[in-house]
């Protein structure tokens, strides 16, 4: 490893390409943390947003008028506002209204941290799109199929879980893919409320070492890699779920 570090140090001296994230142990460690944090934030938000989408789409089909209105209100609120504004609103406005607990420095700290608010706002933001994506899948399930399930004695929840959702999922997977890819990219916004993900770390590194082009390039490739991995997994899943004779 030491030879590799030395080589990158030499690269900086010889060409001016300054990749401190390789040879400087402090920068390396914080960039690794940033990378892990981005993956963690993406996976958690991915999971929550899909759950929100599935539950939201089910509630949207509820026979109760007010449940439907509530879900639609949520979608309008989160789909129509920029995620950065949501993040600031959650962290600085709602965050200060939270109950407080005393931390080890004797300070009354609000209970939800910047991590919590980032996860909440990103999940609800992507979730609002997911609800609509799942609805598009649900509406593509033939009415006759639903009626057949009802005829077999399935109640509404059972019909949704065993019949409608499995078919709907296959229809809406391409759209869901798109939205989840967007979600991974949107996690960069968490830098605004000091969640130490990759953009946040890169920003601090290029302020310290003035190696902006190198860090920008690194960020670009890191996201190409991360999103590429996600797309690969999703495509694999899409293929494994294909039903002969259903959909395209």
């Amino acid at each position: 490893m030491q030879e590799i570090y030395e080589w990158f140090r030499w690269l900086n001296e010889a060409t001016g390409i300054n990749l401190t994230i390789v040879y400087d142990s402090y920068d390396r460690e914080r960039m690794i943390d940033g990378f892990v944090n981005t993956i963690y934030l993406s996976l958690v938000c991915l999971g929550f947003s899909v759950i929100i989408g599935i539950v939201g789409a089910w509630l949207q089909g509820s026979p109760l008028k007010w449940t439907r209105r509530l879900v639609n209100g949520y979608i309008q609120l989160f789909r129509n506002t920029p995620p950065l504004v949501q993040m600031y609103f959650f962290f600085f406005a709602l965050g200060s209204l939270m109950p407080r607990v005393e931390n080890e420095w004797g300070i009354m700290e609000p209970i939800l941290s910047n991590w919590h608010w980032a996860i909440l706002s990103l999940s609800f933001f992507a979730g609002s799109f997911n609800v609509e994506i799942f609805r598009s899948g649900i509406e593509a399930v033939p009415k006759a199929t639903v009626e057949a399930a009802e005829a077999l004695g399935y109640n509404r929840l059972q019909t949704y879980v065993y019949v409608v959702l499995p078919l709907a999922l296959r229809v809406c997977l391409p759209a869901l893919n798109n939205n989840l890819v967007n979600l991974v990219k949107t996690t960069t916004l968490a830098y605004a409320i000091a969640v130490p993900e990759m953009l946040y770390v890169a920003n601090q590194i290029w302020s310290d070492s003035l190696n902006v082009p190198e860090m920008m390039t690194f960020l670009l490739f890191a996201y190409v890699l991360l999103v590429g991995l996600l797309v690969m997994v999703m495509n694999k899943w899409e293929r494994s779920m294909r039903l002969p004779g259903f959909g395209a």
């Binding site: 600085f92 407080r100 931390n103 420095w105 605004a192 000091a194 920003n203 601090q204 302020s207």
Partner: protein, 275 residues
């Protein structure tokens, strides 16, 4: 008294003289016209700011007044900002600049920044009085708010073990500090000083020793050697008498280590004026 100070200032200035003959002479013009024009900040409390009547007041305007009094002329203050202050000096809009300017090698090429420096700002933290930080090492493991891109963030976390929570601007960081999301806020001590004067921050203080000091210099135009010598003498005079320390107290901030140190160093140096 006035003439004694003037004599003392010029006598001290002589020790900084470079020997070049004074030519196009701002100092002479000032004496003839009876008005000294000084560029100061008007947006940097308490160094230079507008009072409720719209007058420029603060530590630097007071220093400028002292210069005018010493010369026995009227003072005219011109508000400058970082992006125009050196140009104003160069164009002759102001005779002297005392405007929170950090003394750097690059700037010394543009204007004549005088020795010695008159002030200095560095890095410190702002924290609740109840938190009881005494040394930088006490920050170990503590969440400390900062502003993204500030050079001392790395030092604060790498050397002192603090967990930097970096926001995009000072207002977000201060908001987070007030919400109790961090134990302290690390930033320029001069900025923190000015915030601490406000009532809303009365429960907070700046408990640590300032580090990474960068000095501020008084500047005149290149080639104005008589003015430069005279102003150098004024700065030495301020350090000798402890006038800047007094002004800091007058405007309600703790004297920064630099002014205290300079006063210690120059104290007892007041030469007798020649009769």
């Amino acid at each position: 008294m006035k003439t004694r100070i003037l004599a003392a200032a010029t006598a001290l200035a002589a020790s900084f003289a470079v020997g070049a003959p004074a030519t196009a002479d701002t100092l002479q013009n000032v004496m003839q016209s009876g008005t000294l024009t000084v560029g100061v900040k008007a947006d940097y409390k308490p160094y230079g700011y507008l009072d409720s009547d719209g007058n420029i007041v603060g530590i630097e305007p007071d220093l400028a007044q002292d210069v005018a009094d010493t010369l026995g002329v009227e003072l005219e203050l011109v508000a400058v900002v970082a992006s125009n202050r050196m140009q104003f000096l160069d164009q002759g809009k102001i005779d002297v600049m005392i405007a929170t300017m950090t003394d750097t090698a690059e700037r010394r090429e543009v204007v004549n920044i005088l020795n010695p420096d008159y002030y200095s700002s560095g890095t410190n933290i702002m924290a609740r009085k109840s938190t009881d930080f005494e040394t930088w090492d006490d920050l170990e493991g503590a969440p400390v708010c900062g502003v993204q891109g500030a050079f001392y963030n790395r030092k604060t976390s790498q050397e002192f073990g603090a967990e930097i929570v970096g926001f995009t601007g000072t207002s977000e960081a201060l908001n987070a500090l007030r919400q109790g999301r961090c134990a302290a806020f690390v930033y320029d001590d001069s900025f923190l000083n000015s915030r601490l004067q406000e009532d809303q921050w009365s429960d907070y203080n700046m408990p640590l020793e300032t580090i990474d000091d960068a000095p501020w210099g008084v500047a005149v135009k290149h080639g104005e050697d008589a003015m430069a010598r005279f102003m150098s003498g004024m700065v030495v005079h301020w350090h000798t008498t402890g006038q800047i320390v007094e002004l800091e107290k007058k405007y309600g901030i703790d004297p920064v280590p630099f002014t205290r140190k300079m006063h210690e160093r120059y104290r007892g140096y007041i030469p007798e004026a020649k009769k």
